[in-house]
Symmetry: C2
Subunit: 530 residues, 2 copies
């Protein structure tokens, strides 16, 4: 064997001697843009979003009316301390490290119910980001009613394990809830449409049962008061609908099943599968439904999924979907935007991907604090996008809501979204929101979803058109009225001279008649318009 | 204590009883779009890309001229078998499971050198995708010269551990290399600009040292032959430049240092830090450079990074950057596009993010197989984007290369990229490519990068303009020549009648004179134009 050959033979060994495994924390350290840490202003909103979302979910789960407190203080160039406190259930001591400093650990990952957070990454991602941009641990205070404590938490990036220091017990009288406070670098506080204030304002809009207090870096305090005292229904865990399953899902569920046979497994694991449906399935394929679930093969599963697609199903249950509600939206919008007029539409549940139910709520508000001021300080319309009540501020270009808004001929409805002080608001609620990007800032442009949003917005637009046209008619009448009334004084004078009657009496009668003709408008109103 | 209070106290316990940890495999199963599995055509290209990239990297590392074989066969509706074989170093048996079925395991994650793959996700991601879309393991054949074997590999999604079955030893005479073959669902074979054929054609373009054979689903065979027999330099591992470091990087490097003091640590861990620079650093901040590296605090590191930004550095080393090379591009483009004219620019290294070196190579080709056919089968220009020689087919909208192409007034250079058969090719080479998305399909629109690409393309465009204008001038002259020559016969006749001289003789002399005047064109050329 030549030296060359010998060398060549060992190449693989040489190369693979450098072989290493890496933790998910290392991965996200290198790929932090995947967690929403891209750009300094975006990164700041991401941090607030993660903590606020967790607080709202925890309060909802525990049936508590949330009081949130968010404070941002400057701490050097592109460095801030962010504190978020809630009155939620708190986190038990034995889970605090995993909850705040282990990526991919949490209570929500595989649960089939509607929640804001989904994957057990958010808060641990914040800890990671604080550690690598400011070199500091996160400070935590928690009181569950059974135990109260505070501590510092870091994440060991090599192992994805929590490191807890300075743990001390607090008095049990400490009010229930969780307070997290961290120092973060490479972030920036921004006002305007993509800043924390706007994020919290919109959060208040879709969570009228929450009270949110915000202290900005200049120490200015804003309170978004609670508009409704009703606690939203606790999200309900439901069984998946057969139409929403992939072959692999079916295999995975079957592995976990305790049932004796596949027919029992199908009926107990999924919704809408009755004994009658089982007979229908039997007649449509040759899969042996009497064998054990663990013996379900990939081929069997493929056949079953194929049958599922051909059966007529009762629509998936939508009681699991937690919307904001029409009356709540009205109260919240009046509370925050104080508009001249608002039109709200809540529609029936629909499905996307063949079997996943979702509900669209849409509203259009005009006047008051609706819309946004553009660079020339003129008013312009704005679009507020929400998924499960969470405001989406970034990546609007790839979002189903943007697509639907763009597809509507607004001028047909006498609406000019470029120039009128209009706020368009859309909330999509579902157990599973199909985000198009990784930052969870936009909804996939699936045609079922886009069309449903479009229909909802067109319903709103029609009603808004009647208001706007009515308003225009009013203005025209008012102009005519003002034109006529201008001559009353002269006319009364002339009539008085001709008839010898008292001028003031004539004028008074004329004005009353004219007012009656033009919608009974009073002089006060006239004055207020001049 | 009331019942309500008692219940409330236990809420946290109830909620956190559902607490679970999840594997990175589970995470990517739920978020497969993060790995490039979004859309059926894109998913297919992703699979081919991952395997081809690994093969090219392995051959480069081992100093082997790559022979790649890619075969795609249909296997049912939206289901295909994909096989990729190489003549690389193979993978030792003890690493095969980790290499192909453990996400975040690999040899490349933390190495500071230029490679196509980076994170140890690609091939394991393919295994995961095959498992969840087709329920089948990946089949592997490997021969390293020291051992040869074949086996089936799956990934245990719950644990992110490999599962190896059907392992058998092969004869040691099995040619060296790796063959992977997998069944994949939810994918689609597409022709055109975003398909596998185009991906491989472009890979051949930037890797002229590779021979690539492709068998498509209709059993059609394409060979992209090797254009150059030189093996590219092995990528060199280099030390980071101080300007490319974050505070956290500095802390992490210091923890791993074996040096006795910080001054030694800085000199041995980073490039361009000399004893003289150490003195400069000392004079600019109060960090004690004589203490142990492990005692470097976050504050110290912040001060050092601040000093690094204020020092005048020698530019970062760029010898580590492996480009394609001007002459190689020429040979490769002639080999594959066979254009009428090509202009190539290779520029000096530049830096982005303050300290990361990169090199742009650009080429513009016209005629031959350049450009693409559009829907009306007219020719149109196309832009071929590459990062470290890897073709980028998707997400062009957010890419620095697209941005640079858009920013150029092509008409000034007499180039119409909408209508001419033109191929614009840009390759960015760097140890660290700043991808804008997760799918690694587009380069961040950093202004340093965009401007450098723009300069390179403008250089190319100028040279192309001379060719095009020269061509146009030629055409104009030819038209004049043809116009004049049309009268030669008549004129010769008339002159012959007037002078009594032989008509043919006169004609011959006239034609020669006219030809001389118009660039010495021959009758042959005239004919070829008519």
């Amino acid at each position: 064997m030549s030296e060359d050959e010998l060398e060549a033979q060992n190449q693989a060994d040489v190369i693979f001697n450098k072989f290493k495994e890496h933790s998910i924390a290392e991965f996200f350290k290198k790929n932090k843009q995947m967690l929403g840490y891209s750009g300094m202003a975006h990164s700041m909103v991401t941090i607030v979003h993660e903590y606020v979302t967790n607080s709202l979910d925890a309060c909802e789960e525990a049936g508590i009316l949330p009081n949130l407190y968010v404070k941002i203080s400057n701490y050097g160039k592109n460095k801030y301390v962010i504190e978020v406190a809630d009155n939620g259930p708190g986190i038990p001591k034995k889970f605090i490290g995993k909850a705040l400093a282990t990526i991919l650990a949490g209570t929500k990952f595989s649960s089939y119910k509607q929640q804001r957070g989904q994957q057990g990454i958010g808060a641990a991602g914040c800890t990671l980001f604080s550690n690598i941009t400011a070199g500091k641990p996160i400070h935590v205070k928690s009181s569950t009613g059974k135990e109260a404590y505070e501590c510092d938490i870091s994440i060991n990036i090599i192992t994805n394990e929590p490191e807890i220091t300075n743990l001390s017990t607090l008095d049990l009288s400490t009010p229930k809830g969780l307070t997290v406070s961290g120092t973060f670098g490479e972030i920036m506080y921004e006002k305007g449409e993509k800043g924390v204030y706007e994020y919290l304002r919109r959060t208040a809009l879709t969570n009228p049962h929450a009270e949110i207090t915000f202290i900005d870096p200049s120490d200015e305090k804003s309170i978004f008061p609670r508009a409704i005292n009703a606690i939203p229904k606790k999200p309900k865990e439901v069984k998946p609908h057969p139409l929403g399953l992939s072959v692999n899902d079916l295999i995975e569920f079957s592995q976990l099943s305790q049932n004796k046979n596949i027919s029992g497994f199908l009926q107990s694991s999924f919704t809408r599968i009755s004994p009658k449906k089982i007979e229908e399935i039997r007649s449509m394929c040759d899969v042996d439904l009497d064998k054990q679930p663990k013996d379900l093969t990939w081929d069997d599963a493929e056949k079953l999924i194929d049958v599922f697609k051909r059966i007529n199903w009762v629509a998936p249950e939508s009681s699991s979907i937690s919307t904001i509600g029409k009356s709540q939206i009205k109260i919240a919008v009046e509370n925050i935007l104080n508009p001249d007029y608002i039109t709200i539409v809540d529609r029936k549940p629909k499905v996307f991907y063949g079997g996943i139910p979702f509900i669209i709520e849409a509203a259009i508000a005009i006047g008051g604090n609706s819309g946004k001021k553009n660079d020339e300080m003129d008013y312009a319309g704005n679009v507020m996008r929400f998924a499960n009540k969470v405001p989406l501020l970034f990546d609007s270009g790839s979002c189903a809501i943007t697509e639907a808004v763009k597809s509507i001929s607004w001028k047909r409805y006498s609406i000019d979204i470029e120039k009128q002080p209009i706020s368009i608001m859309v909330n999509m609620s579902s157990i599973y929101i199909p985000y198009s990007g990784v930052g969870k800032e936009s909804i996939q442009q699936d045609s079922d979803i886009v069309n449903e949003i479009k229909s909802a917005l067109m319903d709103c637009a029609r009603s808004m058109m009647h208001y706007i046209k009515g308003n225009e008619r009013d203005k025209i009448e008012l102009t005519k009225y003002k034109t006529v009334i201008r001559y009353v004084d002269h006319l009364s004078q002339d009539l008085s001279e001709i008839s010898g009657m008292d001028k003031d009496m004539i004028k008074d009668k004329l004005v009353k008649n004219i007012q009656k003709h033009y919608y009974g408008k009073s002089n006060d109103e006239e004055k207020s318009v001049n």
